[in-house]
Symmetry: C2
Subunit: 378 residues, 2 copies
């Protein structure tokens, strides 16, 4: 790429492209486009003196590294950008309500903002996991492309509108680790009888492989793994797994996180409260969410290696990579699980169609770009 | 990953982590941290009625797809978020000044904002390419991690402060294509005598391989390639290359873009003008830049495959992948070029040290995450 002069761009195709209105955003062309000018005049809102003091409930423990920390930063950014007009008080899980009640609380208007991950609400909205992650799904960069520029956000909004909510992307964990295991997994057969703490669609895939998903809340996992109530658990990645202390009690740390290949995190707003805001505060909230989206992933990516190396050196953690045949088998089971989901719920089917078409396209492009990047550099 | 209850997080390590102040951002802990509370009180700025009408000069042709288009969106977001207090007029290259004069124009205060790519300013600041891309360098996700969470932005600010400028990341092209060739490249020897339009550090690598970099401004490339003045040219990726029409006149389209593995785009602000802004407008500009950063990459990633497939189907473009041995040889030459740069300019040496240490770490983590992701899905 290099700087180009204006003249080079006078092709017909280019002019046509320049007129494209970006998905989900109003494009103000700097030329003399009538439609754009009209929108430009309508856009600025009058800033009133009305103060907003909003509550954000989250699924994370208070000040949880990266995720809760990011919510605090978000509140700070919104406060700063609005010149103090909007103050957001962030509540960790259990401070105002339990984390898993966030969705209902924001839906009812008890709080104006929620922060979590859409797949926690699968019981209410079966299509929800597609907006966080599905096993063998897209990674962070691809999820962003689908959500911002591939129609994903429109589908997500359609789903959440049923609950009086408006969602925005608000972070991503990147590719996770497959988890901590107290037995070796050398073939797909080794999942037979395995008792693993793994939630969501991953649990259904495990069941197809002959394992058993055991429910454990966050505070019980460590003890359950230590006492042999479970043989394995997934969590996030090296940074957060280190904090949980799993390296002290589990033998093997497996990669890659086939069940969570780039989990998108979310903000959701009470629709009525959001729609009643002046336009400048709506724009501030949406923009701050996008900033947090990129920061959260950057922070995970910057920190994970430090903790991975620390655990390998200090604690002699045995890091293993799943055999290709194991991953192939898990992928086959995943396709069954996703097809069953799509067949059982029409909206899930609609979302899956969009998701699948987009991921096939972006994977084709990745085979000439990102995939080759990793092959040439690592 | 799954929702956790507060109790689980009461480990000592966790509390320590929760106190970490994020790089480049003030973390407002929602608890009773004195330092944070103090900052919270100082943060909100008084919104005055003073209007700001700023000029943004860019290195892109007016309304250039994605890149110029993104600048227009940025201006729109800032206008909306500030309730009309800040209006930014975006100028394409040649509208107010030629694109390559942006840096000086913003440095002098003739315009308040610039948008381009740091490597255009290598003649003034030799370390500049590290903040866009260097051959065999980091990809988009890794660049963001380095810049936002790994100290990169601090170094970038240190460099630009010499010119009275403040930089912010503002986009990324993702992994580019290696370019269009009118001869096959089967061995590193095939670069001997090759006349290629390739700028920057890539040109120095080409020279080491026996090729000749030919300067061509954007509007001359097509004609030069058609008439055989050059044998090859790089540009960006399928979406923009299609607009340029190279598929009509070049035989081979090579991947991957070893010379631009994730080019970060930039905003730069006149330091005096930026520092004199009320705090809420500073926060609005920084946040809008981050939103554009994630949108630009998403847009490229969402569109590239469509145009790649279009060219392959409609125009029978012959897409090739460089042999591994070719890439190895180019990588060796790249190391020489970067070491020469680091030796010739102390600040480049300092930046290279940070860049290299960070990329070695994140590549190690990628070998358990992103690399395995592509291997298992493609």
């Amino acid at each position: 790429m290099a700087a180009v002069k204006q003249k080079a761009m006078k092709r017909k195709e280019f002019i046509q492209k320049g007129m494209i209105t970006a998905a989900g955003a109003t494009l103000l062309l700097s030329g003399c486009n009538t439609e754009s000018q009209k929108q430009g005049q309508e856009a600025p809102a009058v800033i009133t003196n009305k103060k907003y003091r909003w509550k954000m409930v989250t699924t994370w423990p208070p000040n949880f590294p990266v995720l809760g920390e990011g919510c605090n930063m978000f509140a700070d950014w919104v406060n700063n950008m609005s010149g103090g007009q909007m103050e957001i008080k962030v509540y960790g899980s259990g401070e105002l309500i339990p984390g898993l009640e966030c969705f209902d609380a924001v839906s009812s208007g008890a709080a104006e903002i929620g922060n979590g991950a859409s797949y926690y609400w699968t019981g209410k909205a079966p299509a929800a996991p597609f907006f966080t992650t599905v096993p063998f799904g897209m990674n962070a960069q691809q999820m962003n492309a689908w959500v911002y520029s591939g129609g994903g956000l429109q589908l997500w909004r359609e789903l959440y509108a049923n609950f009086g909510l408006i969602p925005f992307p608000g972070g991503n964990t990147g590719v996770q680790m497959a988890g901590w295991f107290n037995r070796e997994i050398n073939t797909i057969g080794d999942f037979k009888g395995l008792k693993m703490r793994i939630p969501g669609l991953g649990a259904k895939v495990l069941a197809k492989a002959g394992g058993t998903a055991i429910l454990s809340s966050g505070n019980e996992i460590f003890t359950n793994l230590e006492r042999g109530v479970i043989d394995a658990t997934e969590w996030i990645g090296p940074y957060h797994d280190y904090i949980m202390g799993f390296h002290k009690i589990a033998r093997y740390y497996y990669a890659p996180g086939w069940h969570e290949t780039g989990s998108m995190l979310e903000f959701f707003f009470n629709m009525k409260a959001f729609n009643e805001l002046p336009a400048h505060l709506q724009a501030i909230l949406e923009t701050a969410a996008a900033r947090l989206n990129i920061w959260v992933l950057s922070e995970f990516e910057a920190k994970n290696n430090e903790y991975l190396v620390k655990m390998m050196k200090e604690d002699k953690v045995d890091v293993r990579i799943f055999d290709r045949e194991i991953l192939k088998a898990l992928k086959k089971y995943t396709e069954e699980v996703l097809n069953e989901l799509a067949a059982s719920d029409p909206f899930s089917g609609k979302v899956y169609d969009s998701y699948l078409a987009f991921s096939e396209n972006i994977h084709n492009w990745a085979s000439f770009s990102e995939k080759l990047y990793y092959e040439m550099n690592l």
